[in-house]
C-alpha cells in the first residue's frame, strides 16, 4: 500500500445556479493576459449541450484520455513512437476555432464617430489579429439551451439514448437543462502528464495538484489533445501550454481556490483524500463496468489505523491525515456514496466529483400548470424522469444507470426525510421504506442535509496545511527570504515569447 494524499474536490450540481462567477474569478486572476483570452480554466456549461471547446466529449474527434489495450491501457492520441512521428504536425490538436476567437469591441469608435443621423456602433475586433470580425462562437454560446437545435442536439452523450428519449428531451413542456461547472480534475492517472514528450507536466507528490512547468514545455502540445476534459490549453502568444493550477498559491496560504471561494451557489467542496497509489495502473485498466467502484475503493479510510500508519511511513504529514479525516469530499464520496466522477471511462481517475442533479430529473409541470417535484411517481415510473437516467449515467457513471439511480434515491430520501420533519406532509411509511432501501439512517440524512444546505466556509473547504516551510528549509541560505511569499522561485525572466 503506497498511501498518498490528494487535494480532492466535489461539486453539488443541484446547487449550481449557472452564474459564471467562478469562471470570472478565475479569469481575472490567471487568464487575462494576451494569448490566454480564450482560456477558461474554469468554465460552466449547459447540459445537454456541446460544451467548451465544442464537443469536447467527442473522443473520436479529439482523441483524449486512455483506451484499453489488452490487459492494460494506452493513450488515445499518441504513444511513445507515434509521439515523435507526429511531432511536426499533431493530427488531433484542437484549433482556436474549436474554442472561439476571442474578441473585444472598438469602443473608441463610439467617441470618435463624426456627428450623423445614426448611432455609432462599436464593432467587434479580434483579440488575436486586431481585425474586424463577426462573432459566431463564444465560450458559452449555448448557455441555457440557446440554439438548442444546433448545440444541445449534438451533445455527444446522446449516443446511448433511444429516439423516444431524445425526442422527449426537447419537447417544449419537458425542456430541461442543468449546469456543469468544470475545472481540471487533477487526475490520479493524468493523460496530460503521460503524453508530454518533454516531461513538462507533473503531479505534486504531497498534494496531487497537476502542474505544467513552463520552463520545460517546448510546445509539442500533446497535453492539449491528451486531456479528455480539454483542460490543458495552448498559449499561442508565449508558445507554451498552460492549465489550471488549483490556485496553489492560495491553497498554500490557507485560502480555497478563487472559483471555490467565489462560488455563489456554494456548490463547491474541497478536502484531502488518501489513496493507494499502487492501485493506479490496475484500476485505471479495469473493465468499464468496474471503474467507478474501483476508483471509490482506491480512496482509503483516513480513520483506519493501518492506513494512518502507512501514510506516516510514506511521509504524509500527520496534519494532512487529520485534515483528511475532516474532508467533506471523503464524506460525500465514501461515507455516503453520493459523489460520482465525470466520465470515468476516460480512465484518468479524475479527482473532482459531482453530485448529479436531482431536481431536473424529478421536476415536471403538472396538469394545473404548476412546477412539481413529487417523489412517489419517480419511483413508480422512471420514465417520468425528464432527463433520462441513461444520459446522467453516461456523464457520471461510465454508462451504469444503477449507480446514478442509487445516488438519486439517496438524495430523494434525504429530501423526503427532511420534508416529513419540517412540513410533515409525507407519509412516514414512505420515508421508512426509502431509508431501508437506500441504507441511510436518520443521522446520516441529517448530516447530509447539514453539509449540503447549511455548511460553513470551513466545513466546505478543509484545506490541509501545505507545509511550504518544509520546502523552504530545503533551500540553502536564509529561509526568511521567502517570508510572506506563496510559492518559491517563479520566473527569473518575464515569461516572454522566445525569438
Amino acid at each position: 500500500m503506497d498511501v498518498r494524499a490528494q487535494v480532492s474536490m466535489m461539486f453539488h450540481l443541484d446547487k449550481c445556479i449557472g452564474c459564471h462567477t467562478c469562471s470570472v474569478a478565475c479569469k481575472n486572476i490567471w487568464t487575462d493576459r494576451q494569448g490566454t483570452e480564450y482560456m477558461w480554466w474554469n468554465n460552466v456549461e449547459t447540459k445537454p449541450g456541446t460544451g467548451y471547446p465544442t464537443k469536447w466529449e467527442d473522443q473520436e474527434k479529439y482523441k483524449g484520455g486512455w483506451e484499453p489495450q489488452g490487459e492494460t491501457i494506452k493513450l488515445r492520441v499518441t504513444d511513445k513512437f507515434r509521439g515523435l512521428a507526429n511531432i511536426f504536425h499533431q493530427p488531433y490538436l484542437p484549433t482556436i476555432d474549436d474554442y472561439y476567437e476571442p474578441w473585444t469591441y472598438k469602443y473608441s469608435d463610439l467617441f470618435d464617430a463624426p456627428a450623423g443621423d445614426d448611432q455609432p456602433t462599436a464593432r467587434p475586433i479580434s483579440m488575436v489579429t486586431g481585425e474586424n470580425m463577426d462573432i459566431n462562437a463564444g465560450p458559452n454560446w449555448d448557455d441555457d439551451l440557446g440554439g438548442s437545435t444546433v448545440y444541445a442536439n449534438n451533445d455527444p452523450n446522446f449516443e446511448n439514448l433511444n429516439d423516444a428519449e431524445k425526442q422527449a428531451l426537447f419537447e417544449i413542456e419537458r425542456l430541461v437543462f442543468f449546469y456543469l461547472p468544470r475545472i481540471c480534475n487533477h487526475c490520479l492517472n493524468p493523460a496530460c502528464v503521460a503524453s508530454c514528450p518533454s516531461g513538462a507536466l507533473y503531479k505534486r507528490g504531497e498534494d496531487g495538484i497537476v502542474l505544467l512547468d513552463q520552463e520545460v514545455c517546448r510546445a509539442w502540445r500533446f497535453c492539449v489533445s491528451a486531456c479528455p476534459y480539454k483542460k490543458s490549453y495552448f498559449n499561442w502568444k508565449t508558445g507554451k501550454s498552460e492549465k489550471c493550477i488549483l490556485c496553489f498559491p492560495r491553497l498554500e496560504s490557507g485560502q480555497p481556490p478563487a472559483c471555490f471561494h467565489s462560488c455563489v451557489g456554494r456548490i463547491r467542496y474541497l478536502g484531502v483524500v488518501l489513496y493507494d497509489a499502487d492501485k493506479i495502473e490496475a484500476y485505471a485498466s479495469a473493465p468499464k463496468e468496474k471503474l467507478l467502484e474501483l476508483q471509490r475503493e482506491m480512496i482509503l479510510d483516513p480513520h483506519d489505523p493501518a492506513v494512518i500508519a502507512q501514510a506516516e511511513k510514506n511521509g504524509v504529514d500527520f496534519s494532512v491525515i487529520e485534515s483528511a479525516q475532516k474532508s467533506p469530499v471523503y464524506r460525500f464520496l465514501k461515507e455516503w456514496g453520493l459523489a460520482l466522477p465525470l466520465h470515468a471511462e476516460y480512465r484518468t481517475l479524475p479527482m473532482l466529483f459531482y453530485i448529479p442533479p436531482l431536481l431536473p430529473v424529478l421536476g415536471h409541470v403538472d396538469k394545473k400548470g404548476v412546477y412539481n417535484v413529487d417523489a412517489e411517481e419517480y419511483f413508480t415510473s422512471m420514465d417520468k424522469a425528464r432527463i433520462p437516467l441513461q444520459y446522467l449515467a453516461d456523464l457520471f457513471a461510465a454508462g451504469d444507470q444503477e449507480q446514478v439511480r442509487s445516488v438519486m434515491e439517496k438524495l430523494l430520501t434525504v429530501r423526503m426525510f427532511k420534508r416529513l420533519e419540517e412540513v410533515d406532509d409525507v407519509d412516514p411509511a414512505l420515508v421508512d421504506s426509502l431509508l431501508k432501501k437506500t441504507g441511510l439512517t436518520a443521522e446520516s440524512c441529517e448530516e447530509i442535509y447539514r453539509l449540503t444546505s447549511l455548511p460553513t466556509f470551513d466545513e466546505r473547504f478543509v484545506i490541509p496545511p501545505m507545509h511550504r516551510e518544509y520546502a523552504a528549509e530545503l533551500i540553502k541560505g536564509d529561509p526568511y527570504t521567502f517570508k510572506s511569499e506563496a510559492g518559491i522561485g517563479g520566473f527569473k525572466n518575464t515569461p516572454d515569447r522566445g525569438l
Partner: protein, 227 residues
C-alpha cells in the same frame, strides 16, 4: 587577407563562436524562451503540408550532409556502382525538393494568414529568408553541379575538417562555383542565427520520452537541497 580568406577562413569562426556562446547563454539565462513556438493552434491545415514536407526534407538532407562529413568513405563506397549513385542522388534531390516545397508553403502561410502574421517576429523573417536562400542554392547545386554526393567528399569534407581543426584551408573552396560558395557561407550564417531564432527547438527533441515512465511526480520533501 583576401575576400575569400576572410569569408571562408575567418567568418566561419565568428559564426561558430557566436552560436556556441549565445546558445549556452540563452539556455542558462532564459530557458523559458526555448520552444518550437508552434502555430498549429492558429492554423492547422496548411501547416500539415508545409511543416511535414519541410521537416522530412530538411532532416533527410541534413543527415546526408552529416554522413558525408563524418564518414565520407561510406558514401564513396556506395557510389562505386553507378546505379547506387543514381539512387542516392535522386533521393537527395527529392528530399531537397520536399524541403523547398515545404518551405514555400510555410512562407506562403506566414504571409497570407493574418493570425500567423501576428506571431511572426523579425527574427522569423530573417530566418525564413536565410533558409530559403539555403535551400534554393542547395537545390540549384544539385541540378547544375551533378554528383555532389561524390565531390562533396573531395571539397566540402576536407574544408569543413580544416575549419574544425583550426587550420582553415581556403584553397579547397575558392575554385567552387558562386552558388556553392553562397550555400557554404549562408550555412555558417544560419549557424550563427541558431541561438537568436526558433531554431533552438532542434535541441529539444524529446528522445527520453521513449524510456521515461508515463507519470511524473515531483516531491518537495524528497528533493535534495536546492542552491
Amino acid at each position: 587577407m583576401t575576400y575569400d580568406e576572410f569569408l571562408f577562413g575567418a567568418f566561419p569562426y565568428v559564426c561558430l563562436v557566436v552560436a556556441i556562446v549565445a546558445t549556452i547563454w540563452r539556455y542558462v539565462t532564459d530557458r523559458f524562451s526555448y520552444s518550437s513556438l508552434s502555430s498549429q493552434f492558429l492554423e492547422t491545415r496548411q501547416l500539415f503540408w508545409g511543416s511535414t514536407a519541410w521537416h522530412i526534407g530538411i532532416l533527410g538532407v541534413l543527415t546526408a550532409h552529416l554522413v558525408g562529413f563524418l564518414i565520407p568513405q561510406s558514401i564513396l563506397w556506395w557510389n562505386m556502382e553507378p546505379v547506387r549513385l543514381y539512387i542516392l542522388e535522386t533521393t537527395g534531390f527529392v528530399l531537397g525538393l520536399l524541403a523547398l516545397v515545404g518551405l514555400f508553403l510555410l512562407i506562403y502561410r506566414r504571409v497570407t494568414s493574418s493570425r500567423i502574421r501576428k506571431v511572426t517576429s523579425l527574427m522569423d523573417t530573417v530566418l525564413f529568408a536565410s533558409l530559403l536562400l539555403q535551400v534554393v542554392t542547395g537545390v540549384w547545386t544539385a541540378i547544375f553541379y551533378r554528383w555532389g554526393s561524390s565531390w562533396f567528399s573531395a571539397f566540402a569534407t576536407p574544408y569543413l575538417w580544416s575549419i574544425l581543426e583550426f587550420r582553415p584551408d581556403v584553397t579547397l573552396v575558392n575554385s567552387l562555383p558562386l552558388m556553392v560558395k553562397i550555400h557554404i557561407l549562408n550555412a555558417f550564417f544560419l549557424v550563427s542565427l541558431f541561438p537568436f531564432t526558433r531554431l533552438v527547438h532542434m535541441l529539444s527533441v524529446p528522445i527520453p520520452y521513449i524510456w521515461r515512465p508515463h507519470q511524473i511526480m515531483r516531491w518537495n520533501r524528497r528533493q535534495q537541497i536546492i542552491d
